[in-house]
């Protein structure tokens, strides 16, 4: 790989990452919002290093062949435009993941409809000795994941700590409504169904919500919790 091509590859890579962090919000499909300025700074550095190389004359210094691979993420970004992780990544039905950073103190729910993250819902359903969820109406936002069991479906959201490679699916089974299309983003309003006393251990199966309303919504800008 000669000098000109090396420079062009760096310009392309820097430009692609700048594009998904400044022109659009696509970077939120891959990493936490806090990464934005780090990414802009890194992409600008790559772009400047590449652009500076364009103006130097060829010196016969051969770049490594492996640098061609740097065009692959650029191809993936522009051609596949990878969407946020959805129902395919959340399809596993065994041993639901426990949300991290769960509440340590469960404040009482006082509003008529309590909007909360699915992580908070799981935390309260599995870990709250005072059963603060019981009888309270809550609103959850997530996407539709079908179950292998007939007639059962989930509202789910992926939780990420850093990037989509560490995503864990958080799921709540929705009762009382037919399933919307797979991967459709929805808002579910309803009340928690406490598990039966002789049922499985808390945290081993997804909790259930008895829905009174299911509204289809566009995908939120920040797809992960």
């Amino acid at each position: 790989m000669n000098r000109l091509t090396q420079s062009l590859v760096l310009v392309l890579l820097g430009g692609a990452v700048l594009r998904i962090t400044t022109v659009s919000d696509e970077y939120l499909n891959y990493v936490k919002p806090g990464f934005r300025y780090l990414l802009i700074a890194a992409a600008a550095t790559v772009l400047v290093v590449g652009a500076a190389g364009l103006f130097k004359k060829e010196d016969g210094h051969r770049g490594p062949w492996v640098a061609w691979l740097l065009t692959l993420p650029v191809f993936a970004i522009f051609l596949i435009a990878p969407p946020p992780l959805g129902s395919y990544a959340a399809r596993s039905e065994e041993a639901p993941a426990r949300p991290v950073g769960a509440l340590t103190a469960y404040t009482p729910l006082t509003r008529p409809v309590n909007t909360m993250t699915i992580g908070e819902f799981l935390g309260r359903a599995w870990g709250d000795p005072a059963r603060s969820l019981a009888g309270k109406q809550v609103k959850l936002t997530g996407f539709v994941v079908p179950s292998k069991k007939e007639g059962r479906w989930y509202v789910a959201r992926m939780q990420i700590a850093c990037c989509a490679a560490d995503a864990v699916p958080l799921k709540v089974a929705v009762l009382g409504f037919p399933s919307p299309a797979e991967n459709q983003w929805i808002e579910v309003t309803g009340t928690w169904v406490p598990p039966e006393a002789d049922g499985p251990e808390p945290g081993t199966v997804a909790p259930e919500i008895d829905a009174v309303h299911v509204a289809e919504i566009p995908r939120p800008v920040e797809p992960y919790e």
Partner: protein
């Protein structure tokens, strides 16, 4: 003159390949993009791009720091800063890893820069292993991910430092200089040229690791793991291998470990000790930076010591 000829020919062909790629990219937006919609492919692409994007700031930081070390810090500084006896320099360098707040992508170019400035390879390798695991950001992330279990962060810090120092000492005693590919000196070329070369080189290998990790992430269902959770040694090995294939950034792996509730604390500790030291993207980066002869010895050594020390620390501290 054949060399000049080959040179100009190479220039034309390389740039033409690039132009062809660019055309493919533009055309592809209209013609291919609608067909690239299989959920498995999209999930793979999301994870692949996520790993690359997430690693980019750390890689750039590491490459710039490495170039600064090789260009601006005189070699004599390191001989004064580190103890003269290599056996002592190893633990000092290992402990110094606590001050570089980055993940593993930053530590490889930095260690390579240190070696090219005359730092004993064993000491630089101890630094390479310890810095992604024991820096303050990672320690805080571990404390946050395991609320009410501060011993997890303590055990992780201790075990990681011990592994780094042990590997350094083993390398000092048995390692051979010729296993480590000599870094081409770019001293004459200056700061910008070093940044440019390392970025292209390490970046390319990072993409290799990202592809492998994304593939394993999509192909290996997590259910397989839970079947092994009951048996102590199998569960430890399963999580050690999971840490290798998932290649999660060391600043985020504690959150994944916390979500693996089916496993014992010791198995999860092993996951946290192995992850920042051995994973697919790191293996690709190390092979690219130090050569294959280095990687085939260094990776198994680090992996086995990390598993053993992790189990020991888990038994004593957790």
């Amino acid at each position: 003159m054949p060399p000049a000829d080959a040179e100009s020919k190479g220039r034309v062909s390389g740039s033409w390949v690039f132009v062809a790629l660019l055309c493919l990219l533009l055309l592809g937006q209209f013609f291919y993009a609608p067909y690239l919609t299989s959920p498995a492919l999209q999930t793979w692409a999301t994870v692949f791009v996520a790993i690359c994007v997430q690693a980019l700031p750390f890689l750039v930081f590491g490459v710039v720091l490495s170039a600064a070390i090789t260009t601006f810090v005189p070699a004599s500084f390191w001989t004064r800063a580190l103890p003269r006896r290599a056996a002592l320099a190893v633990p000092v360098a290992g402990a110094a890893g606590a001050v570089l707040p980055g993940c593993e992508c930053a530590s490889v170019p930095v260690a390579s820069g240190l070696i090219s400035r005359g730092v004993t390879p064993a000491a630089a390798l101890a630094f390479l292993l310890s810095s992604p695991a024991i820096n303050p950001v990672v320690v805080v992330a571990t404390v946050v991910a395991f609320p009410g279990q501060p011993m997890m962060a303590v055990a992780r810090f201790t075990a990681s430092l011990v592994v780094a120092v042990l590997v350094g000492w083993v390398w000092l005693r048995f390692g051979k200089g010729e296993w480590l590919r000599a870094r081409r000196r770019h001293d004459h070329a200056g700061f910008a040229e070093a940044v440019r070369h390392d970025l292209l080189h390490a970046g390319g290998f990072l993409v290799v690791g990202g592809m492998a990790a994304a593939t394993m992430n999509v192909v290996v269902p997590r259910e397989w793991l839970n079947a092994l959770a009951g048996n102590f040694w199998l569960s430890v090995l399963a999580l050690a291998l999971l840490a290798v294939v998932l290649s999660i950034c060391s600043e985020a792996d504690a959150f994944v470990a916390a979500s693996l509730t089916a496993f014992s604390p010791t198995a999860r500790l092993v996951f946290l000790v192995v992850g920042p030291m051995v994973d697919l993207k790191l293996i690709a980066l190390q092979t690219g930076t130090f050569g294959r002869r280095f990687a085939v010895r260094f990776v198994p050594l680090t992996f086995s010591l990390a598993v053993l020390v992790g189990v020991g620390a888990g038994t004593v501290l957790l």
